[in-house]
């Protein structure tokens, strides 16, 4: 009797949080315990804050990827764009532009990049994977071009403060990502635009015939990830005191891994922002842990690849399970 009651409570809790999210929370706890056991310094406040700071960049890009992948698209350009925007904001400041103007111009670069990606996908009908590979390469080139391949130092002290200021003992960069998660999570769950993202990810043609405009929704999603990445690039430059043209390689890789781990399906139409938050925390806890237990960097790369493979495998298993449940439901209804 007592046991069944407990089971019911557990079941209700599980369905409220979502089975996949529970698995993720469990995985994060396991990762923390594992790495702390090897290196006790892993579980300290300082390290935790550092972990959040590192996660904030992946996180803000992952917000954009959550939208795009649910809509059935993808974006491989954020790593390059982030580096480009870091260099761009550094240059704008060097020219003596006021901070708000420099930041707005940089975000404008993010908008342009998003528009370009959307143009390739909507008008030349390229697969997003290939289209954004083009952007990835080109934007990386531009990042090197505008600074001749050398990092651009930032001396504007008020700008650097963006990277160092804390609020409630948590750095501003982390707060920015938290706000992005909340705002865009709300938009995704509760608004017309969010619903449209799910609808075109489920079936773009059905959504179009039902009166939606898939092209516009895709365009706006690409602009959103562009602006968020640009913002991430600005904050990253402030933390580094410089714009670095060769930085942030594989940023999109981490973000996509986090999003898929978080339960967004590569097939589109499925996922949530909360899942992405957990995915980001898991991948960063894992990545930081590997560094702190002195895993050689080449092996870190192998491990990250393995993590993405695991995420994709989970995605596949979830999809299979959804289909089986559907068939079972049909059997019940028949």
């Amino acid at each position: 009797m007592e046991n069944t009651k407990k089971e019911n409570v557990l079941k209700r809790f599980a369905s409220a949080v979502g089975g996949n999210n529970l698995v993720l929370i469990g995985a994060i706890i396991v990762v923390f315990i594992l790495f702390t056991a090897i290196n006790p310094n892993y579980l300290t406040w300082t390290n935790f804050v550092n972990l959040l700071v590192a996660a904030s960049l992946v996180g803000i890009v992952a917000v954009g990827h959550t939208y795009l992948i649910i809509a059935g698209q993808n974006d491989l350009s954020p790593g390059s764009l982030c580096a480009f925007c870091g260099v761009a904001v550094a240059l704008f400041l060097q020219w003596g532009l006021p901070i708000p103007v420099a930041i707005l111009l940089t975000l404008g670069c993010g908008v342009l990049c998003g528009l370009f990606n959307a143009w390739m996908v909507n008008c030349i009908k390229l697969e997003a994977f290939i289209a954004t590979l083009v952007t990835q390469t080109m934007v990386r080139g531009f990042a090197q071009l505008i600074c001749d391949g050398r990092p651009v130092a930032i001396s504007n002290q008020s700008f650097i403060k963006i990277g160092t200021t804390r609020f409630l003992s948590i750095p501003v960069s982390v707060w920015i990502t938290i706000i992005a998660f909340i705002v865009f999570g709300f938009i995704l769950a509760r608004t017309r635009f969010g619903r449209s993202i799910y609808a075109i990810g489920g079936s773009a043609e059905a959504a179009r015939l039902a009166g939606l405009n898939p092209r516009r929704i895709v365009t706006v999603s690409f602009i959103i990830i562009g602006v968020l990445t640009a913002l991430g690039g600005v904050v990253f430059a402030a933390r580094m005191n410089a714009g670095q043209p060769s930085a942030n390689v594989n940023l999109e890789f981490d973000a996509i891994t986090a999003v898929i781990l978080g339960g967004v399906s590569f097939a589109g139409g499925v996922g949530s922002m909360f899942g992405t938050v957990l995915g980001v925390l898991l991948i960063q806890a894992f990545g930081t842990g590997l560094i702190m237990v002195n895993v050689p960097s080449f092996w870190q790369s192998v491990a990250k690849g393995a993590l993405l493979l695991a995420a994709l495998t989970f995605d596949y298993i979830r999809k299979e399970r959804r289909e089986k449940e559907l068939i079972a439901a049909s059997k019940r209804n028949a």
């Binding site: 608004t191 619903r195 799910y198 043609e205 039902a210 559907l326 439901a329 049909s330 209804n333």
Partner: protein, 500 residues
Amino acid sequence: MESVLEFKHISKYFPGVKALDDICFKAYGGEVLAFLGENGAGKSTLLKVLNGDYKPDAGEYLLNGEQKHFKSPQEAIEEGISVIYQERQILLELSVAENIYLGRMPSNRFGVINTAKANQMAQKIIEDFGLPISPSTKVKDLSIAYQQMVEIMKAYSRDNLKVICFDEPTASLSDAEIDSLFAVIEKLKAQGKIVIYVSHRMDEIRRITDKVAIFKDGRYIDTVVTAETDEKDMIKMMVGRDLGDIYAKLDKNKEIGDVLLEVKDVSSDYVKPVSFTLHKGEVLGFSGLVGAGRTEVMRAIIGADPMRTGEVYLEGKKIVNHSPKEAMENGIVLVPEDRKLQGIISNLSVAGNINISLMKQHSNKLGVISAKKEAKEADDGIKNFRIKTPSPDKKIVELSGGNQQKCIVARGVATHPKVLILDEPTKGIDVGAKSEFYEMICEFAKQGLGVILISSELPEVMGLSDRIIVMKSLKVSGEIMAKDATETKLLSMGMIEEKE
């Protein structure tokens, strides 16, 4: 030895449908067995289970007492089971002989293909069939009927052929071509093969088949001897009731109003210029063969495909629809033919699907959707359209086909359209739901909507419409008042002329 094919308790589920429900029966060599049933009765699914395209969820089938499990159609063909589909499955760029012996061309021990020998072997089969074609002709240079013959010869050329199935083989054949196809079927039958013949055409079933297996809603009903059974009785078995009654009983709208929609020379990349008018309260049927351009006209009108020429007037005012969205705002809604890919949004719930076109009305200035308004709209839709669902939050794919379709219609009607276009609305749904749809269509007309009904089922078009437009080869080929229409008239208006 006479071949026997036995189905034992075969069941197959798809999301939302029980496509096959405990199918049990036998087919014997040396006779032609027809599969008869409405669209969605399970005939094609059973063929796909037979040839390894689908894996049954339960049950098994035996060929000459031996249990068979094919993982692919290729495996089935190698074991002597071939299905000839409506869509040609041959390689147009290859010769007749190469197609017949595809993957097993005679060759020497170095793997070099002996084309002359293949041609010789193919020539023998062609003579068997009595056809005036050469084994070295490229298949793309043959008429559709001969291309189909090549497919049959391909199956026939296997020594171990035991079962051959034809899925609507005469859909695009002329009378003379049908004659030669039937001669071949007679030959196969004489050789003791099991021949399965799927068709909707009663006269053909009468002519060529010995027995008829009747299916309804995924269930096997019975097998009857063709010569001993009345046509009406067969139809009654496959429909479950007398369909004539359904149409006669319908309470149709009698007050047809002014001109509502006027379409002038509308064309797109997929259809030639088409003109017609639709009145308030009228049900306008569109008849014609699949591919005649009926869907394409509607897609051009609502802006789903770019309109190349022509004008559309709604209540006398010229309107231009660049997208389905604009058409919807102007009051024209399409319920598409392909429910699975163009109708339902599979990842959303029943409520989500009903509400998707009304998000603007249900949200505030910031775009935040009101859960309350959505819940009310969904409840109204579920009640008014009698959608059978455990809850509005159920995924739409869990519902049966008919109920999914009701959700799509509910979605469209919720936008308060003036013109409702229904493209094959009853395709693949069960008879019970069908008659509900018929009542709905009459109700829409009474409310003053203009309804356009595209349907390939002639009794349906004739029973529901006030006026019928027939299309042929991407153009309008005729118009007839429903009360003057007969199946023969509609068919002759809609049949494609011979092209040789």
